[in-house]
Amino acid sequence: MSSGKDDEMKKTYKIDVDCANCANKMELAAQKTDGVKSVVVNFMTLKMKVEFEEGADPAAVMAEVLRNCKKVESDCEIFI
């Protein structure tokens, strides 16, 4: 947490998913979403850390990320 600007482009979300492979699938799906620069899904801590592209609107991007994740794993959840 070095600066305020940094915080805006990096956010952590709580997620819910049943299996480790599904978490990896979510990571891949989220990574392919426009506006996402990089993403790490941690199955053990049930957290998704997203770094957004510059100028992206996190709320809009996350809605799309959730849609894409639901496609690969219908019973996953991201608490946005």
């Binding site: 947490m1 049943d18 299996c19 480790a20 492979n21 990896n24 891949l28 790490v40 941690n42 199955f43 053990m44 801590t45 049930l46 957290k47 850390k49 639901k70 496609k71 690969v72 794993e73 219908s74 019973d75």
Partner: protein, 646 residues
Amino acid sequence: MKFVNELSKSQKKRLYRITIAAVLEIALAFIPLGNQPVLRFVLYLIPYLIAGYDILIEAFEGIRNHQVFDECFLMAVATLGAMALGDYAEAVAVMVFYQIGELFQDVAVGKSRRSISELMDIRPDYANLEQDGDVTRVDPDEVEVGSVIVVRPGEKVPIDGLIVEGTSSVNTSALTGESLPRDVKEGDELLSGTVNMSGVLRVQTTKEFEESTASKILDLVESASDHKARSEQFITKFARVYTPAVCYSALALAILGPAISILAGVADPSMETVSQWVYRALTFLVISCPCAIVVSIPLSFFGGLGAASRQGVLIKGSNFMETLADVKVVVLDKTGTITKGNFEVTDVHENQRPKEELLELAALAEGHSTHPIALSIRRAWQKSVSGAAADAAAPAPDLQRVTRVEEISGKGVVARIDDKEDVALGNLRLMEHLGIDCKPCESIGTIIYIAVDGHYEGHFVIADEIKPEAKEAVEDLKKVGVKKTVMLTGDVQSVADAVAEEVGVTEVCAGLLPADKVTKVEELLKTDGSEAGGHSSLAFVGDGINDAPVLTRADLGIAMGALGSDAAIEAADVVLMDDDPRSIAKAIRIARKCIRIVYENIIFAIGVKFLCLILGAVGIANMWLAIFADVGVMVICVLNAVRMLK
């Protein structure tokens, strides 16, 4: 039924479904239904649906989203296929065991999540904020720097601060693993995450909650498993390729198998031949699920990181776990790791001026420095004036008398005192640098020479105490397979050699300037570290003061006793919370065990799966063996992984 009570609601539901379906399945095996095919189908359909209805629903969702490699879809195809072939018992068994596997995995993962959060139970929930004489309980997030908080006995210290009133003993075990309570009094620094045991303390906060030790450590531990290890990335990629490959092989087996065997004349062109190959293809689908391997790897790392933090070793990422396991060379900075860093002036050799005057001049010249050597000189001067051990009431040097200070890195300082005398204070190199003639001292210890206006006036002998655990620590390192232990120091050769001989390190490099340490580590990296190729890495251990560049440059930077030093925690890959050098070997041992479990799981899971695939393709393995390859392997891998937490 303690086990059942610990389950969550959804886990209980799954357990009941499994039990009912399994009981029905076993009962049906004893009922002779051979001549009533329709009734038999209907009766088996009941446990099949009880065990697998949710999988069928998810499989349907998967088709809608064009996810053909979804594991529910694969299970659905495999079991529906088995039903179509008339292998009802197998179909039900696949569903039942699949659910058992899911339940088992869910419980194991949940348990390790809980045990880690219990382990790191240092998150303070509230702070008692003192405002205008009133004490109110607030969210620690809301406490501003400089506020006064009250910590009562039994409470966790929520925010780092200085004690302004009260004495007590505090338990630091959550931070350092040290179980002996520490006595604290007014003026002492108090770290968050420690537990106040006896007296009420009033503490002035020096940091915000987010920046406090407890928050930082929690953040570090929680995000450690975000940094995925090479083996973890390999498995993720493997899973991505494995499932489609097995599915296409299944398809090929179902179509090409009968076609080729009929054309080659080894089998009759009958429905029986076709269904035999379809059955083999279905066993492939059961084995195609990669979950067993995928879950056990992060679980092992998570357990490993947790086991390490329980021992006071914070590893900042799963990737560093791999590097730590490969450590073959350990480079130790002498001060703070091998020695206590408690320097003491043991002797003053004077030339013409009296000892007291030399000490005073030296204390003035070093007045601004926080270097351990400078502190020891100031303490010695305080002792010479007050005649007692230095404490808070001892006089401080009058820094008004110092008008100009120049620090010469790695050599010493030159200061102008009372605007008339230029005092040079430092090692032999400083004297050479300034062209001052002096005779080198033969005593064992760090020698600090003093010269006034270019004339040599005497020197101080300063000794540092070797940590009692240092010798055992170096022996432990050798036991865990570290080939080379190198001690770096800025000290002179004679002191370095004496220390090296006592603790038993294999190599010594003395007389190094801070920048030389980086160069030396770079050299060792080329000959023995990662840059030499092969699986060997170099760890540098420092106390985090002034060695951030070396910590970053080494394959693995280990900061020791670094609690409260943000710079060290930032620069290091592994943070040892206590200052016991034996923790280094302990950390390596934990990492080795963790990596061994990871590799065992990878090799075992992939091995069994491939073996079952081959046996399935030639018709030796049946559906039951396929179930073992899927669920059995997962249970074994998960059990192996949770060993890390024990």
